[in-house]
């Protein structure tokens, strides 16, 4: 079992966690705005029920309390890598379908994609802090999408953004959990230990 952190590593992790929480908070508010714009521009019904998006681990997790810090980071990283692929695909589809017609939606999508990429990089930094190299990306992420009709593309986009908004909430909770000092020692526990 890894021992407690050195003070500098703990400080570094808390700093990364704090910045991560801010980043994911900003991302979430942008995703919520984007969701409203997306629903309106795609002519969708905001209450439409959408199937789970293939390739993205669900934000909801059972026994969240029992997860180790490393598990939290690995699950977060897998999710945001998947979102990076899906959002890039949405952006490509949006350009193909609408061209320049809806530049605002395109910019908003690109902005969220950028933030997702930044947050994924952030998570990799946190993992590296524990001399834990992030898993390689091969074979990871959503499977290649079968050809979807336009309506299916619209619904999948809605599903991706909804799931991303959920993940942003969970990530903030995970990072707060990681940032907590362990009781008594005043220093943050090694990732492997922190529940």
């Amino acid at each position: 079992m890894a021992g407690a952190d050195s003070p500098s590593a703990a400080l570094r992790r808390r700093d990364l966690c704090t910045r991560g929480i801010r980043l994911v908070g900003k991302m979430r508010s942008d995703v919520i705005d984007l969701l409203d714009t997306y629903v309106e521009r795609q002519g969708l019904d905001a209450s439409a029920s959408v199937a789970a998006v293939e390739g993205v681990p669900p934000a909801a997790v059972e026994r969240w309390d029992e997860q180790t810090g490393t598990q939290r980071l690995l699950e977060n990283l897998a999710a945001y890598r998947a979102f990076r692929v899906l959002l890039a695909q949405m952006l490509e589809e949006q350009r193909e379908q609408l061209g320049e017609a809806d530049a605002a939606l395109g910019r908003a999508l690109a902005s969220v994609l950028l933030q997702v990429s930044a947050f994924a990089y952030h998570l990799e930094e946190l993992l590296q802090l524990e001399s834990r190299s992030p898993p390689s990306e091969e074979g990871d992420g959503p499977p290649p999408q079968p050809h979807l009709s336009l309506f299916e593309q619209k619904l999948r986009g809605l599903g991706v953004l909804r799931e991303l908004a959920q993940w942003a909430v969970r990530s903030a909770r995970d990072l707060r959990q990681l940032a907590k000092p362990s009781p008594g020692t005043g220093s943050a526990p090694g990732l492997a230990e922190s529940p």
Partner: protein, 490 residues
């Protein structure tokens, strides 16, 4: 034997049938016939109550004797058949192929006219029936006309459905009537051909979906959408945009809505949503826009004798975007060269570049334009590019003064103007005095600098200079002014 009836399919042979009144069991039947009273009679036996004999020129006598099982004659009857009593019914046509084109909801029907059986030049009338739904309701009946050529010709006919072919099965059958003018007998329509079917998705056990799928129509179109659901599902409602529509049942698993006079859709198209039970949903997207207008005011010029820039007025926006946007291509007739233009559908000032071709001064342009709804082209434009020079803005304007009343200006113009003379205009302004324009012309160069000398300036005076250029011999348009350069005479 009674009720002898004779029918011919080919005007040469006829099939005669008759009834037999008694209920006793029969053995073979003896047939004898003579045609146009020419002996001897032709006789033979048959077990059937039909016989094929030649069509007479005028009349035939047919004697029919029915026998018992043991061969003793029951009854004999002689019939006189006149040509005018013979019924001509064409052979039942057979559909050779029935091919769907789902993209255009069009059915192509091919059949043979069996013309080789008939003399040249006869008029043939065909009736084609289209039926739909599980109840085989008649959708339409169409007449088609052709002329027989004494050869078997394969005829082809297209029909476009008012709904996607996926929505439900479409059935087709055909019959014909041949106007045999020289045949004195009776004439009638053939029987209907066997029905051929284009199965809809609702005939496919795993078929489902909303159709048409992601299609483009013109504003004002009437469009039928259908929702085909899987076995264990059912449709609760269907909506176009945000508006629910009354549903028409096509079959057990297929429901349709009809949208009339569709208006222009948003950029991302109008959603057609089919809501199923358990909050499941399926849908499609319809793009409603305009066919392209004929481009107006096509105008072409060259900034540098390397490319030709054409501009035009595109007319009404099509309302279609992305890969469905209106696309332009510039075709030059003399060289046969065709260039597709990069035009962004939002930009209402489109421009298209065409390369200046070696040894070609005049160009005959036509601007083609198309989108999924239609296509058109501009009228042609014949230009001599030496008469359509619109140079770029002069750059690197530099001023050197060699004495108190004259200066030397030089500037650079990006382009290859060796084929023409340039006319440049220097604007001189200083303080409160009036602006002066000084024109100077010089041979054009290839990506070169140009220079001019200005004299009669006032000493110790601060001046602002700028320059613009155009073609000297065939003025077309001035370039933009260069940046202003200041100089104070010493």
């Amino acid at each position: 034997p009674k009720n002898l009836k004779c029918t011919t399919h080919n005007l040469h042979k006829m099939i005669c049938t008759w009834d037999v009144s008694s209920r006793r069991r029969h053995g073979q039947t003896d047939i004898c016939y003579t045609t146009n009273d020419l002996p001897p009679p032709v006789c033979f036996k048959t077990k059937e109550k039909r016989v094929e004999i030649p069509v007479p020129e005028s009349s035939s006598t047919v004697t029919i004797t029915t026998n018992s099982m043991s061969g003793t004659a029951f009854a004999t009857k002689e019939f006189e058949i006149h040509k005018k009593d013979v019924l001509f019914v064409p052979v039942t046509p057979r559909i050779l192929s029935l091919t769907p084109d789902f993209a255009t909801s069009t059915i192509n029907l091919k059949w043979s006219d069996n013309g080789s059986v008939f003399p040249y030049g006869l008029d043939a009338f065909w009736q084609i029936q289209i039926l739909r739904k599980e109840t085989m309701e008649k959708v339409t009946e169409v007449s088609y006309y052709s002329k027989l050529t004494h050869e078997d010709v394969i005829l082809s006919w297209n029909w476009t459905s008012d709904m996607p072919l996926e929505c439900t099965s479409h059935y087709v059958k055909i019959r014909c009537y041949i106007n045999v003018t020289q045949f004195v007998g009776l004439k009638d329509w053939s029987d209907w051909s066997p029905v051929e079917v284009i199965p809809g998705k609702d005939a496919d056990p795993s078929g489902s979906g909303v159709f048409p799928l992601d299609t483009v129509v013109a504003v004002g179109s009437n469009v039928t959408f259908c929702c085909v659901h899987e076995e264990d599902q059912n449709v609760t409602n269907m909506s176009y945009g945000s508006k629910p529509y009354p549903m028409i049942q096509l079959s057990r698993r297929s429901y349709a809505i009809r949208v009339l006079n569709a208006s222009a859709s948003d950029t991302s198209g109008t959603n057609v949503v089919c809501r199923l039970k358990n909050e499941m949903m399926d849908g499609t997207v319809l793009f409603v826009g305009y066919a392209p207008d004929i481009p107006q005011n096509l105008s072409c010029e060259t900034p540098n004798f390397l490319t030709i820039k054409c501009t035009w007025k595109p007319g009404r926006p099509s309302g279609l975007y992305g890969k469905r946007r209106t696309k332009y291509n510039l075709f030059e007739r003399k060289s046969g060269k065709n260039v597709s233009c990069e035009v962004n559908e939002i930009n209402r000032e489109p421009v298209c570049g065409f390369p200046v071709l070696a040894h070609q001064k005049t160009y005959d342009f036509i601007l083609g334009v198309s989108n999924p709804i239609g296509q058109t082209e501009s009228s042609s434009l014949l230009v001599d590019i030496t008469q359509r020079v619109h140079p770029k803005m002069p750059e690197k304007l530099t001023i050197s003064g060699n004495n108190s009343t004259s200066i030397h200006l030089s500037w650079f113009i990006n382009g290859s103007f060796a084929e023409i003379r340039l006319l440049c205009q220097i604007e001189i302004s200083s303080g409160d005095s009036e602006q002066k324009l000084h024109n100077v012309s010089m041979p054009g160069g290839k990506f070169s600098s140009y220079a001019a000398q200005l004299n009669a300036l006032h000493p110790y005076t601060k001046y602002q200079f700028r320059v613009r250029c155009s073609a000297a011999d065939h003025f077309w348009r001035w370039s933009d002014w260069s940046r202003v350069e200041e100089h104070t005479t010493s």
